[in-house]
């Protein structure tokens, strides 16, 4: 469980995140949704202290995150982001096994865990274990990135637009793959995206952010039924509008 209390982050004088309070319940996936510059990535990074809050408190399972050494905190929290950031001089297996390695797991246990995860992300260990990141496609790299985030059996998972840089087909496939994975693992997950469809597809609840503030938080259904304001309503109706345009085109073809 993650709890943010009155968390603020200022850059220069302008707040990027402004007195934001939010709870992520154990086992749920919460999506942080908003346009660029709304503070969603900053909010995410304050959970694993890649960004330090200017004020406010982040509680992880009731413990103040600021009271832990940041590197120990991060080893307990899986983290994957859009740029992936696989270490180019390490093999796929070394990349996936890095956090267990830092935690001092025995080699045999790391090997088993890496192979199991590679199978889970649908990359045959025998074939991919020794490859270098640049020998993989973008989608494969992102799956290795997620495997790396999951490697040390974290309690929490933070994902920052992990599928944002992929082509639509790959993104679609990975999103469905991730739905299964999520259901299977039942991890507490915070997922940042600006993509409404992705938010509806993957989120148990969605938190809408604008200009560093939390505008509304709720299940997709709640948001669709009772949008907090016109902007939220418009945001949520955008997939529907797209589908209408799409269907209109199809009908046009059929006529």
């Amino acid at each position: 469980m993650i709890e943010l209390r009155e968390v603020t982050r200022r850059y220069a004088d302008a707040p990027a995140v402004d007195r934001l309070s939010l709870r992520v319940e154990a086992g749920e996936t919460l999506v942080l949704l908003g346009g660029s510059g709304c503070g969603k990535t900053t909010t995410l990074k304050m959970i694993n202290r890649l960004v330090e809050p200017s004020s406010g408190t982040v509680l992880i399972d009731g413990v103040d995150a600021a009271s832990l050494p940041p590197h120990l905190l991060r080893r307990r929290i899986g983290y994957a982001f859009q740029a992936v950031g696989l270490f180019p001089h390490m093999s796929v297996a070394e990349n996936v096994g890095i956090t267990p390695h830092l935690l001092g797991w025995p080699g045999e246990r790391i090997r088993e865990r890496v192979d199991a995860l590679l199978r889970r992300v649908e990359l045959a260990p025998e074939e991919y274990r020794e490859r270098l990141p640049h020998e993989l496609s973008g989608g494969q790299q992102q799956r290795v990135g997620i495997a790396r985030a999951l490697a040390a059996e974290p309690e929490l998972l933070l994902l920052d637009e992990p599928f944002g840089a992929l082509d639509p087909l790959t993104r679609d496939r990975l999103q469905r793959w991730f739905q299964d994975l999520r259901a299977e693992l039942g991890l507490t997950t915070v997922f940042v995206t600006h993509d409404m469809v992705e938010a509806l597809l993957l989120g148990d609840r969605i938190a809408v952010l604008r200009e560093g503030r939390l505008i509304q938080v709720g299940t997709p259904r709640q948001l669709l039924r009772e949008p907090a304001d016109d902007q939220v309503a418009e945001l949520l109706s955008s997939p529907r509008r797209q589908i209408e345009v799409f269907e209109a085109l199809l009908e046009g073809d059929g006529a």
């Binding site: 590197h71 991060r74 992936v84 950031g85 001089h89 956090t99």
Partner: protein
């Protein structure tokens, strides 16, 4: 050529001893400094600025500065019981290390800072500490860039190390300096080619490391490392060999400034000391003028030949040379003993004085016999002098006393002056009166009617340490007192400069002739 090549193993080994150790020290200083700077960004402009400033000091000057700097430091450390040698290996290695810092430092900083920010974020995100991130991510990724910096430094240091000869460190520069002075093209060529080949070889070896690190190619890395380990191993063995050879007690160290006469005289002194006392000797050739005196005073040299007028004018800062040859000599000898504990083993008999020289043809045409005749035509003439001449008090005194004003003055290598005046490239030169080329090239020396140029009696000087340690060496070389007149010295110089004889051989023949005459 063959006798030049015989010197190659010794010079090359000495050169490697300078280059490899300087590089090792450069790496040991620069990589940690570079890492430190990337952790504390505010320091970056300052640290890189200091390294850049060091780089802008001309390398020859940087080397030369080390001598007085170390001498000063030496007087301080001596009180702590630590002896520092101000000439030879130490000043060279300090200067070369300083010179190697900038490229390695700059590339370390650039290499680390150019690591993709996404990887830095990933490293933090997976839970690395700052130190783990540095060791496991930033340094491995920056390694090719850092090694490229080491490669640049290696090439620079190989080249710059040839300039360590004037501060008394043996290097491939010994070929170049003595070759230029004695007009021995073969020696200059051997020195330059050997240095160039060494630079290329090191460059390619380190390139193997660079590309090996970049492509994660174990074979290249292993090949490059094997060559380097071999070179360092060889250098370590050569150091150990040098140490055990020196076990018999320190050699008598004999200095030579950078001109022909000095090479011959240093050989004479060395041969006499060895023959008469059985002590081992080491010649430190091609020293800068004041470097030799400072080194003698500091005990880093035991013997060398200097000239009464040089000490009178440059060290004692006296301008009253008109007191006469014997008075100057007596004053200088008294000054040396009283102020510095330096003993004179006697005047050799000849003077090597500064004299203004012209081609006899031009002198006749302009009807110039003495310096006072020069005054009326100097406004149309160009004068060439050696590197220090125009800075010396003798020149200032000459200008003042006669009212000389030349159209142009040009500093040039002393070895080139005589040909320059013969070919008419300059009209007047600051000749050395014992140079064999004066007679050979038909150069006339102008009379110093007012007697303002000091007398330059060649004196064998012995440092305080030698006087204590081996008075018999002093005894041995005092046999040369009065044994060389001007014609003899000119003849010996010509044998080297024109006939390309080795200074050691010319010295040996002279001593043999002396012995024969004595019987």
């Amino acid at each position: 050529m063959k006798d030049q090549l015989a010197l190659l193993p010794g010079y090359l080994t000495a050169h490697l001893q300078l280059v490899l150790v300087a590089l090792l020290l450069g790496v040991a200083v620069s990589i940690p400094a570079g890492i430190w700077v990337t952790r504390r960004r505010s320091l970056e402009p300052g640290v890189l600025g200091v390294a850049s400033v060091i780089q802008t000091i001309p390398s020859l000057a940087l080397l030369a500065i080390m001598v007085p700097a170390l001498a000063a430091l030496g007087t301080f450390t001596a009180s702590l019981g630590l002896e520092l040698r101000s000439i030879g290996y130490l000043p060279a290695i300090v200067a070369l290390t300083l010179y190697s810092i900038l490229p390695i430092l700059r590339n370390t900083v650039t290499g680390i800072e150019s690591v993709d920010p996404a990887l830095v974020e990933a490293a933090r995100g997976v839970g690395m500490t700052d130190r783990q991130r540095l060791r496991q991510v930033e340094l491995p990724l920056a390694l090719p860039v850092i090694v490229a910096g080491v490669r640049t430094a290696a090439v620079w240091v190989v080249g710059t190390a040839t300039l360590s000869t004037p501060v008394g460190a043996t290097s491939l520069g010994n070929y170049i300096f003595s070759g230029l002075q004695t007009r021995n093209t073969a020696a200059v060529l051997v020195g330059c080619v050997a240095a160039a080949l060494l630079a290329l070889a090191l460059d390619q070896t380190i390139r193997l490391l660079e590309t090996g690190a970049g492509r994660r190619d174990r074979r290249r890395l292993a090949a490059g490392l094997a060559v380097l380990v071999g070179l360092y191993g060889y250098t370590a063995v050569s150091f150990a060999a040098g140490r055990s050879a020196a076990g018999a007690g320190p050699p008598v160290r004999i200095g030579a400034k950078a001109f022909t006469e000095q090479y011959i005289l240093s050989e004479m002194l060395a041969q006499l000391v060895r023959r008469e006392t059985g002590l081992s000797t080491e010649i430190v050739p091609s020293l800068g003028s004041t470097v030799a005196f400072d080194a003698l005073r500091a005990g880093d040299l035991d013997l060398y030949v200097d000239y009464s007028g040089t000490i009178f004018a440059t060290i004692m800062q006296r301008t009253d040379a008109f007191v006469g040859r014997d008075a100057v000599l007596a004053d200088v000898e008294r000054f040396l003993v009283e102020q510095h504990g330096i003993r004179s083993a006697g005047a050799l008999g000849f003077q090597n004085t500064y004299a203004l020289g012209m081609s006899s043809e031009v002198a006749r045409r302009l009807s110039v016999r003495g310096i006072s005749d020069l005054v009326r035509v100097a406004g149309r003439l160009e004068i060439g002098g050696d590197y220090e001449f125009f800075q010396r008090t003798e020149w200032a005194t000459l200008v003042d006393a006669y009212g000389l004003a030349f159209a142009r003055q040009r500093s040039m290598d002393p070895a080139l002056m005589y040909e320059a005046v013969r070919n008419g490239d300059v009209d007047v030169i600051s000749a050395f009166s014992t140079d064999g080329r004066i007679a050979a090239y038909g150069i006339v020396l102008l009379e110093d009617e007012k007697g303002v140029i000091p007398p330059y009696d060649a004196l064998v000087l012995a440092g305080p340490a030698l006087v204590e340690r081996a008075p018999e060496a002093l005894e041995a070389v005092s046999r040369l007192a009065g044994a060389l007149d001007e014609q003899t010295m000119q003849r010996l110089n010509l044998a080297v400069d024109r006939d390309k004889r080795a200074p050691a051989q010319v010295a040996r023949e002279f001593l043999a002739a002396q012995d024969a005459a004595a019987q």
